[in-house]
Symmetry: C4
Subunit: 379 residues, 4 copies
């Protein structure tokens, strides 16, 4: 009987599929260095708050910078569309589940004001913080001048999927190599998930890559579009591209895994898979300082024709200080992320992030299965 050629599909992995193996040498956690460098800017902790309206406003950006990390302000969201974004955030928080998509669609149809972009950047800079802002590729060329003139330190160009080669009828394609020359600040680009796209983007001269399509808690891209690669595999592939590019050019471009984090364990796994830093949304949306008031939603959620996200109620569970440095009042791993990373690095004998990228990952059955036994007993 005739037979087709068998197409072998590649297996990919997410956070729940892997676990870190402790090392043969252990070190004390207080001896670890967890810093991250983007361009010439060094951050003491490798954690970046996502460019999502429920997470990063001017105040949150200021606070994150003080902790040694970074927060990215989305300048195509409510903060640059509205003089008074608080009233808008309040309306979103109070919307019923059924009205929510409609309200988000209306709120986000308001145009962006250049004047507000300048004002928000200046508010962040006046506090002494590092200011990073994000734009979508379609608006980058138009908004780049006001962003740089207002004093932003890092420019993030971000969409669901970004490549070095985009074909469009409606606007002249953004060329990242030109952008990097034009703006005088580090450009971080994403998101991407594959070796070849990551390598092409690095060759344009950008200073950082965001990794991750489809994994976020507030994102339904995989359900709506069928598109997405789990974070461990995408991080491993892009880390391989970083090493290839480093060998090729001698330049080190950090990769930042973006989305899908629920606990310190996920963060440690991303680093062990090869990340230099992580971008986190929903865990920060749970802090007292976050503007989302216990809610969180993705930036594709308000899309008019094809919303790809949901507003989720995440609740308010602690302070930003607790989430990053503890002390933790919970045992689910969502607090003291930096402490967890240092302890894990100690167990793997890793003095810094670069060494932690060498920790062994194994495929391991999800922790959920084993916990179920006792959860059932408690019902």
């Amino acid at each position: 009987m005739e037979k087709p050629q068998i197409n072998v599909l590649r297996q990919t992995y997410g956070f729940d599929d892997v676990s870190i193996v402790p090392g043969n040498v252990t070190i004390n956690p207080d001896q670890t260095n967890v810093s991250l460098k983007i361009g010439d800017i060094v951050f003491n902790i490798p954690i970046i708050a996502a460019a999502m309206d429920a997470v990063t406003d001017v105040n949150f950006a200021t606070l994150m910078s003080k902790t040694g990390g970074l927060a990215v302000l989305n300048i195509e969201g409510v903060y640059t569309k509205y003089e008074n974004p608080k009233a808008v955030l309040e309306e979103i928080a109070q919307a019923s589940d059924s009205d929510m998509t409609g309200i988000l669609q209306r709120v986000y149809s308001e145009p962006i004001k250049d004047e507000l972009i300048a004002r928000r950047i200046k508010e962040v800079k006046e506090s002494g913080a590092i200011c990073a802002v994000s734009v979508t590729p379609a608006n980058t060329k138009r908004l780049a001048p006001v962003i740089t003139e207002s004093g932003a330190d890092i420019l993030v160009v971000q969409s669901t999927v970004t490549t070095a080669r985009h074909i469009s009828k409606s606007y002249h394609g953004l060329v990242f190599s030109e952008l990097c020359r034009m703006v005088n600040i580090p450009v971080v680009v994403g998101n991407c998930v594959s070796y070849s796209t990551c390598l092409e983007l690095m060759r344009t001269g950008v200073s950082g890559i965001l990794v991750g399509v489809g994994p976020g808690a507030a994102c339904t891209s995989r359900q709506v579009l069928g598109i997405g690669v789990p974070q461990i595999t995408s991080t491993m592939d892009c880390a391989a591209a970083r090493e290839a590019y480093l060998t090729e050019t001698g330049r080190y471009v950090p990769i930042i895994t973006d989305g899908g984090f629920r606990c310190g364990g996920d963060l440690c796994k991303a680093i062990a898979a090869g990340a230099d830093g992580v971008m986190i949304g929903s865990i920060f949306a749970q802090t007292k300082e976050a503007p989302g008031k216990g809610y969180h939603w993705g930036m594709s959620t308000p899309h008019l024709a094809l919303p790809r996200g949901t507003r989720i109620k995440v609740g308010i569970r602690g302070t930003l200080e607790q989430v990053l440095f503890g002390p933790s009042s919970v045992t689910d791993g969502s607090q003291n992320l930096v402490g967890a990373l240092r302890v894990a690095m100690g167990m793997c004998g890793a003095f810094n992030i670069r060494e932690m990228q060498q920790a062994e990952l194994v495929l391991a059955p999800s922790i959920t299965t084993e916990g179920k036994h006792w959860q059932l007993a408690r019902l």
Copy 2:
């Protein structure tokens, strides 16, 4: 110790097992072409409504044709058994769960009326729509004349499993090559799931193949019979047969993945697995225009001795326009299917369906696991 030869079973995959990897080049969604060709008839969208009584009546067939797609009318169901099918549909919708199987068995024991076949076809044609009708293999030879004489444009011969070689004592086997010569319209045949069966069917001269055994939401074939192949693998195998047949003859026979779709992501994955089009049941049963009134049932459900399906309550969630083109009022991917396909094609840099068939699929842990975390938090 003596050991048996180890039989290695082939691994197969369904929608939940795979994900699409974005491409190295992206294009704007408005530059994509999503048309499907069956015989000489071109459809602007590659979506066909299933030949199921809760989905396609004369009115629905008319509406689907206007959107650029197609709906297939089952001419062995209530529409050709009853002058007034509305009363029957009402009875099914109002049946209790326990009475349901018995009521369906009684309703479907009514004989088919040739006169009603002719009338239904003419009703569709009078609206200006393309008219496609489906029959089972056992009835095809008897009903083919009235179907063609009444003006149908496409003949679908469909049963749970259809092969080019069927052995029966009770009726003279249907020979598809004779049927194709006899009727003067494109013949679409199914369902099949394997490379060799698909290739044999194409060699009989048919103009399209339906792919899928066991995956539908209203179908319990796999539970009752143990038979079925998940849709990604069956689509990949039949697409391989299509390519082999194309090389062999120069003739391109489209394959249409039929059943199991729950969201736009599933549709995109079927195309990326090699399908030219999709046949959808339950998502259409949820529209305001569907005759099922928020219920859906499989065509094997009323089987007298061995019912293989359940009536499921799908609810009414939007209009046919919303399901196909949006704007979407939901974020679960069940609306704006065409928009989702165009966006996914854009992310893969695919200008048309033929290019989208080349997108990379990977094995990826189901989205369900990752979502669970927040769903639990919401309880």
Copy 3:
């Protein structure tokens, strides 16, 4: 760094892991032959009711024989311990969940009466039925004379795990080759799960092998002991032993997959994996004719020190006739098992069981995942 040799563990499969691929030729179900032969006795259907007290009493054995199948009477259970087993069964049915284990332990501590063994066998024979009885290996030599003298047609020697070589201090080991010569009727032995044990047992001269350790619905062997092999793999391995033995000797010894069946699909899969017949417990316990009154329990459940089973409430869902031949009033596959097998064989183009053993099995994601979507929607 030093590394251990990696031990690769063999992957095994159960019913939920596999699916049957339809064939390239299909036949009408009414042309299939589903008979099973044990020794010289031919059964019209390949289905045997388990030697469990909630399933097979004298009446049930009589009814099963009339349908063309077989039921095995456990002669170490309530029917040979009690003059009036009905009162005992009533007590078990009415026990609370917390009292149940204690009640079963007390009920089953009653000694077996030889006189009742003889009486039960004669009751079955007087009805004109084929009489099969089961004993445990430890009691076989003592009870074999009364069993054969009373006229039993088939002797089943059954324990959780049976091998051709058992070492015991307390009783002189049972030698199956001696037993086969001693009794003048077919001896069926089990349970086993591996190629080598199955082959050794066949070489002792037995007439049938029961396959399955740990899969039954009323059995918790795998949880209590960690021991068990899923039914598809154990059936495939034992079928390979049957073929090797057939080649070696020319004698065909049927293998009967015992335990874990929930629907017709499971039965069809067992045959496709290589079984000649199946032994079913819980589905029969659900019939009106079963003595368990809607309850079911394993024969290891009453074990005094180490109970390995639970009493489960299975309910009463239909008649024995419906379960075997339909018409089915349910759509979950638990009725019309013979009809389901014939339809599946038709879809695979198999005229008899021997041909159905050649049907292709593939690994397929469980049906449960796909169904979940709609079950959630119904909540």
Copy 4:
């Protein structure tokens, strides 16, 4: 297109992933020997109660020794911090879920009293029991003198991850070879999970290895830190190290799998994977004799900055005698662990633990899936 090197991650396995295959020879359970030897001390049963405050107090240690097993007293917990630990245990048992982490953190911040260490050890010894105590690496050198002087028989040095090479700024690293020479009693060290770490630890001269990172019911290390290896793989790897070390030196160092056990099946699987003994926490916490009063918590739970555990309500389900030797009043495998091990060894034809380590393990779908069917039916 350029491609990365594909990193193949090793697959690991836990209890739920595997099952034991019965042997070709079976023996009677009463012929099995299940003893375990640590240093020169022989234990009649291979089961050790964990050094957790909810499991082992002076009384429990005494009772376990009488059964032929062992219990390890944690001398950095409530028993050496408080004159009257009962009041403290009462407070923990009565704490609400929300207050629990805070109360544990306060209770455990009390300093250890050397005087109480001496008293607890003497209390155990006065009962005639074998006395084993556990310390963390950081405190070992300081506490070793009082431990040995008070007459302890076995010293357990235990932390989440222990290696032969630890680097610390704050205390001079513990050198196990020095410790073994200094104390005159067997030293057991852990926990570790990999071949190379286990081999290095054995080479320091220790008398036993604890295996397991992350699997315990009261432990959330994997969630918080991302670190952990499932128990079957870690046991297989450390057993391979034991064999390598035995070949290298002629000395046999037992490995004890620690954590994650829920039933007798898990215990049998650990032995079949290569363990010489098991350390059990939560199952013992369920006994009437355990000091935890129906609650259980991990020793990392009270960590001030980074709690890695939860207090779980395990309930009180039977006596220690029942858990070890039956008779079992439950059918879930959590009672008569020794009986279960003997029965499983009988089914595998293993006369002793060393032979049971040779039993075949296979990968098998979890029992949970198959049980679900009936659990659903019961709702």
